[in-house]
């Protein structure tokens, strides 16, 4: 049944009927770490979800409704929705030391590069 095969190319759909946005991101690599800056305006800090699974870093957030009480919308340029984006991290990073700071609608992730294990010296016992 060839027409039912997707090869995993079909993205999973969300259960909530809200748009999913890809947040614009700046990525800067410094000598010791990888800095990622994502714009997620209106995101609920409690709903922020950052996971690193093997090499895939996934960032997801839900935005709280910006609907003011008792008002009707007259003109709209943006919509409330979810944010989702995944990155494949090409370098080994220290997963335990990843820092995430959310401030003023900007999520800032610092991923320290994993330091290579120091060369181990193996003493040789002469028999």
């Amino acid at each position: 049944m060839a027409d039912q095969e997707t090869n995993g190319s079909v993205a999973a759909e969300t259960t909530r009927d809200v748009p999913v946005f890809v947040p614009p991101t700046d990525i800067i690599e410094t000598e010791s770490s990888l800095l990622m800056v994502l714009d997620v305006p209106g995101a609920d800090p409690d709903s922020l979800d950052v996971t690193l699974d093997k090499r895939v870093l996934r960032i997801a957030a839900r935005s709280a409704s910006s609907h003011p009480e008792g008002c009707t919308l007259q003109h709209a340029e943006y919509r409330d929705g979810n944010y989702e984006r995944s990155f494949v991290i090409s370098e080994p990073v220290d997963a335990a030391k990843i820092e995430a700071v959310f401030k003023d609608g900007v999520l800032r992730l610092t991923l320290p590069k994993a330091t290579p294990a120091p060369a181990a010296k193996i003493p040789v016992k002469a028999a």
Binding site: I27, G42, S66, E69, C71, Q74, Y78
Partner: protein, 146 residues
């Protein structure tokens, strides 16, 4: 399955050439697809019983750097977004966030009571309450029977 090595191979392979060309085209299209920087900030305009409410997505701007002025029926939003600094020796992989100074003016169909206007900034969202002055509001007229 072995991964296909695009640039390996000893013989002239038309399929390989086509695949390489396709990759080049995709790369070209990818850069074309990047949308032109939209108007910043994006705003929604709401109307309520007291006047208008404006909500705007302004991530990464601290409230102190936002300048909001109200004059009669015109509201102006001004501010600046600082680009992420890239130090010497750092590598910039992606720069998708827009940066720079921005200003947006809105003309409302009524005057705004500047003393009662209020602004709130939370999680990158600005909420601006723009009430109409008391004297300017529509008045309800009761009809009496003669």
């Amino acid at each position: 399955m072995l991964a296909y090595q695009g640039n390996a191979g000893r013989w002239f392979d038309p399929l390989r050439q086509m695949r390489l060309m396709q990759q080049d085209m995709n790369r070209l299209m990818d850069s074309l697809r990047a949308p032109a920087p939209p108007e910043f900030p994006l705003i929604n305009i709401w109307t309520g019983p007291d006047g208008a409410v404006i909500t705007a997505e302004i991530p990464g701007v601290s409230p102190d750097d936002l300048e909001i002025t109200v004059h009669q029926n015109t509201v102006t939003l001004r501010g600046q977004r600082v680009a992420e600094p890239v130090g010497e020796g750092d590598i910039l992989h992606r720069r998708e966030r827009v940066a720079g100074a921005f200003a947006r003016s809105l003309v409302l169909p009524f005057r705004v009571d500047g003393d009662k206007a209020a602004a709130m900034f939370r999680n990158g969202l600005l909420r601006l309450d723009l009430p109409r002055p008391e004297a300017d509001r529509p008045r309800k007229i009761t009809v009496s029977r003669s």
